[in-house]
């Protein structure tokens, strides 16, 4: 009786795959494909989710466009595409010093 917890876990794990598959199939013809491509995407996803507050959807939307703008500025204005990930990491570290729960309020576990 009550809510089936195990069914909820399975359902959430399946629902999570849909935007990921869409995003990967969009960039697959343009960006490179190698067996080790998952590491770069996963670290970027963790960085964006941590910046926007873990578990908060509005914060993740805001943080993804912020990091996308940082990458674009680093690549085109300053002209050094080698430092894209480093600049995003420094931005996240500076923001986490002044607001450790992320941009939006994260969930109450941590």
């Amino acid at each position: 009786m009550g809510i089936g917890v195990e069914g909820l876990y399975i359902f959430t794990m399946m629902i999570v795959l849909l935007p990921v598959i869409l995003g990967t199939l969009i960039v697959a013809p343009v960006w490179n494909i190698e067996p080790g491509m998952g590491w770069l995407y996963m670290t970027t996803a963790i960085l964006v989710a941590v910046l926007g507050g873990l578990g908060n959807i509005k914060g993740t939307i805001l943080a993804s466009f912020l990091i996308g703008a940082t990458h674009a500025v680093m690549c085109f204005v300053i002209g050094e595409p080698r430092f894209m990930n480093l600049s995003a990491l420094i931005l996240v570290m500076v923001i986490l010093i002044f607001r450790p729960q992320g941009l939006a309020r994260s969930e109450s576990l941590w």
Binding site: E6, Y9, I10, T12, M13, M14, I15, V16, L17, P19, V20, I21, L22, G23, T24, L25, I26, V27, A28, I33, E34, P35, G36, M37, G38, W39, Y41, M42, T44, A45, I46, V48, A49, G52, L54, G55, N56, I57, T60, I61, S64, F65, L66, I67, G68, A69, H71, A72, V73, C75, F76, V77, G79, E107, L109
Partner: protein
């Protein structure tokens, strides 16, 4: 400033949308299930290599191969989450 403003706007929105799609999954798992899913990186090569397998080896069209890959992904996600 070597380039005009429209480069930054258009590339910022494109990159931001791609990063939003791939990080919604991680944020959803971390917020709802409270699992810091460090095994999240298996999804990306499994997507592309699974679609390529159905396209090249079995010779299907594009949409049936994408559906076959989604079925394989759901099977792996189901069998790794269910507590046998």
């Amino acid at each position: 400033m070597g380039v005009s403003i429209q480069y930054i706007l258009i590339y910022g929105v494109i990159l931001g949308s791609i990063y939003l799609l791939i990080s919604l999954g991680f944020s959803l798992i971390c917020g709802v299930l409270r699992i810091f899913h460090l095994g999240y990186a298996y999804i990306f090569p499994l997507t592309v290599y699974g679609t390529w397998f159905f396209l090249q080896q079995l010779g299907w069209d594009l949409i049936p191969s994408i559906l076959g890959m989604i079925a394989v992904q759901f099977a792996i996600a189901f069998s790794s989450t269910k507590a046998w």
